[in-house]
């Protein structure tokens, strides 16, 4: 019996039949079924790279459910959302955030969105904020030229799986010259046990337009494993700006393998700000292709890995045009036997001129058994490029803790302040509403660590 008595679900296991039934439940055009089936074949053909940790290899794809929905369609008012979903979203503070500072919200529950709304004035300016299904069918002309072009199904095993069974996610289009002042935000909730969430997002920021897009995610704690394997594609055109902010706080039974990639055209700017606190294992390496002259890419991320967690995150930047610049700042905190580190790649095409990259990776280790790794790859040729790389590993200095304790702070408060101090510059990059919450979450993680 299904735990939530959901009306629409595929049951456990993954086969052609699973894919066909998802496509049928979503009443898709036949070509999308073909796309999905082809992707499924690719999934079965691909294997995981050797460095992928054991917890991810051990995942039994036949023990997961691939589509679960209660027949919900995205509602335009919270009053129409089912009481169970509403109370959960309220506990996550979503309606409140929407009122206070967001320009639009999409809230996904398992496989489908339960709520989706954007301010009227943005609709009037031609901004689109909806889910991938609507993108595929209603906004096909805008959507299709980019869909699965930035991240093809063959990119990696999880991208192939996502392409076969995707559901939900966001489709955002910001027309030329439109500057969306407040953020649009998508929330993802995994409610069902032994479930895979495969949202698929595409974000297009047209010439001279600006957007801040945010993602947040949570799930209740189960003893079994769940999988979140999203694909996000983005296209930032000439002179446009995209800021993409993620606060990842999955429960510690979720395997989080996200493929997120896009390109920046001439003089465009892409900035990622990532915070990873939850999940059992996270594999996430945002990729930016700087393909227009003077395009800029920046990735700021911090990750905390507690007992039993692995935050395997990093950045991939490809400079393929002149005078492109990129900046990477990664800070990780490993606690107990947790592993948090950086795995990334920066490459500059040989015939490019005047490209710059700066990469900084800092790791903080708490406890004797915590681990980190910094695994950068730099591929540069030509003599007009500037590359800087800095890395450090530190622990919390006992003298500093003593100083704080001598001022009356408990050891755990002293530890929290020190850790917050380590990531403070990054946390300040998040919007205020999130930086406050993040500080609190970091304090909780650290105070657990010191008991």
């Amino acid at each position: 019996m299904h735990p939530h008595g959901s009306t629409f679900h595929t049951g456990f296991g993954l086969s052609e039949e699973t894919v066909r039934s998802i496509s049928a439940m979503k009443k898709e055009a036949p070509e999308w079924l073909q796309f999905r089936l082809q992707a499924l074949k690719t999934f079965f053909q691909l294997s995981l790279p050797k460095w992928v940790p054991e917890d991810v290899r051990a995942l039994d794809f036949q023990q997961l459910q691939y589509y679960v929905a209660e027949g919900q369609t995205p509602k335009r008012t919270w009053a129409e959302v089912s009481p169970e979903m509403l109370s959960t979203f309220e506990a996550m503070g979503i309606p409140e955030k929407e009122r206070s500072f967001l320009a639009g919200v999409e809230a996904q529950w398992d496989s489908e969105a339960a709520y989706s709304k954007m301010q009227q004035h943005l609709q009037d300016q031609g901004v689109i904020f909806t889910d991938s299904h609507e993108g595929l069918h209603r906004y096909r002309k805008v959507f299709q030229p980019y869909f699965a072009k930035v991240v093809p199904p063959s990119d990696n095993r999880f991208a192939a799986l996502n392409s076969a069974v995707f559901s939900g996610g966001s489709f955002v289009y910001v027309p030329k010259g439109v500057k969306v002042a407040q953020p649009l935000q998508a929330f993802f909730r995994i409610q069902t046990e032994r479930f895979g969430q495969f949202e698929r997002s595409l974000i297009i920021v047209d010439e001279g337009a600006e957007l801040t897009f945010m993602e947040g995610c949570t799930a209740p704690i189960w003893n079994t494993q769940s999988l979140h394997a999203a694909v996000v594609e983005f296209v930032v055109k000439k002179d446009a700006k995209l800021q993409f902010i993620t606060v990842q706080n999955w429960s510690k039974n979720v395997i989080n393998a996200v493929t997120i990639r896009g390109w920046a055209e001439e003089n465009a700017e892409v900035r990622f700000i990532d915070g990873h606190i939850g999940s059992k294992v996270t594999l996430k390496y945002p990729g930016i292709l700087l393909k227009g002259r003077r395009a800029r890419g920046e990735v700021l991320s911090f990750a905390i890995a507690h007992q039993g967690q692995r935050q395997d995150t990093g950045t991939r930047i490809f400079h393929v045009a002149d005078e492109t610049t990129s900046n990477i700042l990664s800070k990780s905190i490993s606690i107990d036997n947790g592993w948090a580190g950086y795995r990334g790649k920066v490459s500059i095409k040989p015939d490019c001129h005047g490209c710059k990259n700066r990469t900084e990776c800092h790791s903080l280790l708490l406890g004797e058994h915590s681990q980190t790794g910094t695994l950068p790859t730099v591929d540069v040729s030509g003599n007009t490029q500037q590359i800087r790389h800095e890395a450090s590993v530190s622990s919390i200095d006992e003298e500093k803790l003593f100083y704080l304790q001598q001022r009356g702070l408990s050891r755990s408060a002293a530890m929290s302040l020190s850790v917050n101090g380590f990531v403070n510059d990054l946390v300040q990059s998040f919007p205020l509403e999130y930086s406050v919450e993040l500080k609190r979450l970091i304090e909780m993680e650290v105070s657990h660590a010191v008991g």
Binding site: E398, K400, Y403, Q405, R407, G408, S418, N424, D425
Partner: protein
């Protein structure tokens, strides 16, 4: 009410070397004791032991605060009970602002007038203190001690002393790196606070010692404390 901090038979050794042995000292509120001695004589070690630094474990002896032995208390409990150490070389705390640090510290002093104060009250008081110790208001947003000059570090230690109004203040060369004016101001602070605070201070500056109007002088030499006339 008069409070007393009594060091009884303190022995501390490091790497086989005796730093001090069977040391006795009694300090009450209203008193100003000065501790002198050559460099490396163990003056700072003694203050660290009293404050409860985990690397400065006493081999034997008792530290009695109003008759209660606090040798097993962790450093924060000693601090909360009113023992304050002004560090000779305070540590830089990257990313932790002065305001956040002081506000967090005050949470652990339930009796303090600023405990649970509004942000406005808190900032008003901190701005007053910053002015009094000769630091600009912008220091509230700076990382604690990071990039401070030697003198600024001492001024910020002094600010914390004035803010927390401890029962016992252990001042480890608080005057070093300060100009004459600042030293005089600290001397004045000590006079203002001494009715409710007992001071044990380490200083190499005779003028400063005179300013503090000490009630007792001690010299630490070869691990033993001698009382000077």
């Amino acid at each position: 009410m008069k409070a007393t901090l009594a060091l009884q038979g303190l022995t501390f050794r490091r790497e086989g070397k005796t730093i001090f042995e069977n040391l006795e000292l009694s300090l009450s509120t209203g008193e100003v004791h000065v501790l002198s001695g050559a460099n490396g004589a163990g003056k700072s070690s003694l203050l660290q032991c009293v404050a409860g630094h985990p690397h400065y474990k006493l081999e034997s002896g008792q530290i009695q605060l109003n008759g209660e032995n606090i040798v097993d208390w962790p450093p924060e409990k000693r601090a909360q009970a009113g023992i304050f150490l002004a560090f000779q070389m305070p540590y830089e705390l990257e990313g932790l602002t002065v305001a956040n640090f002081l506000r967090t510290a005050l949470k652990f002093f339930p009796q303090h007038p600023l405990h649970g104060a509004s942000a406005t009250e808190f900032y008003q008081q901190i701005y007053r203190l910053l002015e009094a110790v000769g630091l600009p208001k912008t220091f509230t947003g700076r990382s604690v001690h990071q990039g401070f000059s030697g003198g600024e570090k001492k001024r910020f230690e002094w600010l914390q002393l004035r803010l927390l109004q401890p029962k016992f203040a252990l001042l480890d060369e608080i005057d070093s790196g300060l100009d004459v004016d600042a030293r005089q101001c600290i001397g004045k602070s000590i006079q203002e606070m001494r009715s409710t605070t007992g001071f044990l201070l380490v200083s190499h500056n005779q003028d400063f010692v005179t300013l503090c109007q000490p009630t007792a002088l001690h010299q630490l030499e070869n691990g033993h404390l001698q009382n000077l006339p």
